[in-house]
């Protein structure tokens, strides 16, 4: 479970996050929507303890990320917009390395099973990742999350730049992870994918959570309209 309580982050005079309250339960895919600078990535960085909160707390499975940074990172998997891997290592070697960093080790067969589950073609396992497409890298990134047995996933615009097929495959993987009980927090600009993949949506603007929605309660068109209204600052009609 991921939980933010009155989480604030200030960079100098700039309030990047203004008291965020957020809860992502096991089996949830919570999609954070918002324009650039809305605070989505800041929220993810706070959960990763990459940056320290100005006030408030971020917790992973009930553990404060500031007090127990290593413990909470063991429970997390992070998939950024561009999964950065070591170009001179193969997919299998990258997976093995990151799994070991996360405190896990498996047999080669098990590593291959993770890659297979993520849809990476078997011929690519032993290839150096320098030539991998973004989609293939994202798949290795998910395999790392699987190997890490992460309880919670933090995804920062993971489908940005992916072609529709790759994006669809990626969403399918997320849903599978959700069904396994993972708590998933995903920052995205992709309203369609948020509705299709997510269980809940949070719309952020200027460091504040403007509105939370259940994806089953709204249509694609509703999401787009609500989102745009918040972005234009004339929301309120739907807030109730």
């Amino acid at each position: 479970m991921l939980e933010a309580k009155q989480l604030k982050k200030t960079f100098g005079d700039y309030d990047a996050l203004k008291g965020l309250d957020l809860k992502v339960n096991p089996g949830d895919i919570y999609c954070l929507l918002g324009a650039n600078g809305a605070g989505k990535t800041t929220a993810i960085n706070l959960f990763l303890n990459f940056i320290a909160p100005t006030s408030g707390t971020a917790e992973v499975c009930g553990i404060d990320v500031v007090r127990e940074p290593l413990e909470t990172k063991k429970l997390l998997a992070y998939i950024p917009e561009q999964v950065m891997l070591y170009g001179n290592l193969t997919a299998l070697e990258n997976l093995r390395y990151f799994a070991k960093l996360g405190g896990h080790d498996y047999t080669d067969t098990e590593y291959k099973a993770f890659l297979d589950r993520c849809g990476l073609q078997s011929g690519a396992y032993a290839q150096r990742v320098a030539q991998f497409s973004k989609g293939m890298r994202q798949k290795v990134g998910v395999a790392i999350a699987l190997a890490k047995q992460a309880k919670a996933l933090l995804l920062d615009e993971p489908t940005s730049g992916l072609d529709p097929k790759a994006s669809n495959e990626f969403s399918a993987l997320l849903i599978a992870l959700k069904n396994d009980g993972a708590s998933i927090l995903m920052a995205t600009h992709d309203l369609f994918r948020a509705k299709e993949t997510g269980t809940r949506i949070g719309i952020m603007r200027e460091g504040q959570m403007m509105q939370e929605l259940g994806t089953e309660d709204v249509s694609h068109a509703d999401i787009e309209r609500i989102y745009l209204e918040h972005m234009h600052g004339d929301a309120g009609k739907f807030a109730a």
Binding site: N45, L48, F50, Y78, M84, L89, K100, L101, G102
Partner: protein, 480 residues
């Protein structure tokens, strides 16, 4: 965890094209230097042994003559090449390889290889030590400068830091990975060098060859460690790999090129040596006026009276020893303290300069390593000073033996003119002077002499590790 990080680091480095090229060049240079040095060493040893044996025989075969004339005929002492001079030639090229030993004169060493070299040689010898002192740090820098800054730029550092790995684990893992990559380049060359040395049968030449090699290895490993941790520290502190490289190459040039030159100049400034001509003139004048202001001939006149009184005689003819020989020996001995003072002054100045240079090792780790390397290779100033001291001791002993023999064997010449009744000695007499044998400084005393340099290297290593720990602890994703 640390092993996993090290393995990854190592795999990445060795698969990088840069590694293959730099490693190939490094191996080629090291092997060439070691083999060329070894060939030079064996040739030098052969020449030295042949020359020493030849000059020893010449001493015996010089022909029948007066023993004091034999002392004037003199002999040469040839300095053996240092036991590991094939690895580190030190200052051997500039100190001379032989010294002529004769009555009344203490000479400087002659036969400086540097004087026979072309102008291009001023850029330094291609020796294993030079390569390890200058190119090994460069290899480490090239292999390790991306350790953190490269990962920061490529984005993998965020990925890694999200895995729950500690900064300290990353530091040690990366240090181990870079260090292993460096070692697989350097170690085989060292092993080949050691095998070549043992095959040449010169291992018995020096005391504690195993200890020398071990101590030398420890010093160079410490030096490599300093650069590994400095590289990682700078990489952790800088945002961009390009900046890391610039800072490290700047430091490398400072410690490897600038400081040795600067240290030499600074030491000459703080402890200057006199100009040769003036020094020589001063010494000659000092010999004439006597060490204590009493000229030798005045001293000898006083001594003559004492001897006459001791033996209760009034003329030389009544003395039980050949007094010309006694006079020659006494005049020789009156010069001892003058030689000791003036040559000692130069030696002290050189020693003081060496100490200043060693102290400047606080600013550059190449300086203490260079001193240790030369000392253990037997090519430093201490080794040369010991050779010169041994040669002077031998010279004095040679003259004493000849004069002493003359004083006893030619007693009957006291009453006659030596020009009309010349005493001749033959090979049997000359053989009372044993051949010159150089005993290199004891390894223990040399190690003790360089204790501070080892401490300096250890301090540098500790500082580099400390800086690396400090820098990696400060790694923050906030500033990315």
């Amino acid at each position: 965890m640390i092993t996993s990080i090290a393995r990854k680091e190592f795999a990445e480095i060795v698969r990088d094209g840069r590694f293959k090229w730099t490693a190939a060049i490094m191996v080629l240079l090291l092997l060439t230097a070691m083999l060329a040095g070894f060939q030079k060493y064996t040739t030098a040893m052969r020449i030295q042994q042949a020359a020493q044996a030849g000059t020893n025989q010449q001493w015996l075969d010089q022909g029948d003559k007066n023993p004091h004339s034999a002392a004037h005929y003199g002999n040469y002492a040839f300095k053996p090449a240092g036991p590991l001079s094939y690895f580190d030639n030190g200052i051997s090229n500039y100190t001379g390889t032989a010294v002529f030993m004769e009555a009344h004169k203490q000479n400087f060493a002659i036969g400086r290889p540097a004087s026979d070299q072309s102008a291009i040689a001023r850029f330094g010898d291609l020796s294993g030590a030079n390569i390890l002192q200058l190119l090994l740090p460069l290899l480490i820098i090239f292999l390790g400068f991306t350790a953190f800054s490269g990962e920061r730029e490529s984005g993998t550092l965020r990925q890694v830091m999200s895995m729950g790995v500690t900064n300290r684990q990353l530091l040690w893992g990366k240090a181990l990975g870079v260090g292993t990559a460096v070692m697989i380049v350097v170690l085989p060359c060292i092993v080949i060098g050691a095998i070549a040395l043992s095959m040449a049968g010169s291992v018995d030449h020096a005391e504690g060859m195993g200890t020398r090699i071990a101590a030398l290895s420890v010093a160079y490993l410490m030096y490599a460690g300093i650069f590994v941790f400095l590289t990682i520290a700078v990489s952790a502190m800088t945002k961009h790999a390009r900046t890391t490289l610039m800072v490290l190459v700047g430091f490398w040039a400072f410690t490897g090129f600038l400081m040795p030159k600067a240290a030499s100049e600074i030491s000459k400034f703080t402890d200057p040596t006199p100009a040769f001509g003036k020094w020589m003139a001063d010494m000659r004048a000092h010999q004439i006026r006597g060490i204590d202001g009493v000229p030798p001939f005045v001293k000898f006149a006083k001594y003559t009276k004492e001897v006459f009184k001791e033996y209760g005689v009034d003329t030389v003819a009544d003395l039980p020893m050949y007094f010309v020989a006694v006079r020659l020996q006494k005049l020789e001995e009156y010069d001892y303290p003058v030689f000791d003072q003036h040559y000692g002054m130069i030696r002290d100045a050189y020693a003081a300069q060496r100490k200043v240079q060693d102290r400047l090792g606080l600013l550059a780790p190449t300086l203490p390593l260079r001193s240790i390397s030369m000392a253990l290779s037997g090519t430093d100033l201490i080794q040369h000073v010991k050779f010169m001291t041994d040669a002077e001791t031998y010279r004095r002993n040679m003259v004493v033996k000849m004069n002493d023999y003359l004083s006893k064997a030619a007693v009957d010449l006291n009453a006659t003119s030596s020009s009309s009744n010349y005493m001749r000695a033959d090979e049997e007499v000359f053989a009372i002077v044993p051949p010159f044998v150089f005993e290199p400084p004891a390894l223990n005393s040399m190690m003790a002499e360089h204790r501070n340099n080892f401490i300096l290297l250890a301090l540098w290593l500790a500082a580099a590790i400390g800086l690396a720990i400090f820098a990696t602890n400060r790694i923050s994703m906030e500033r990315n």
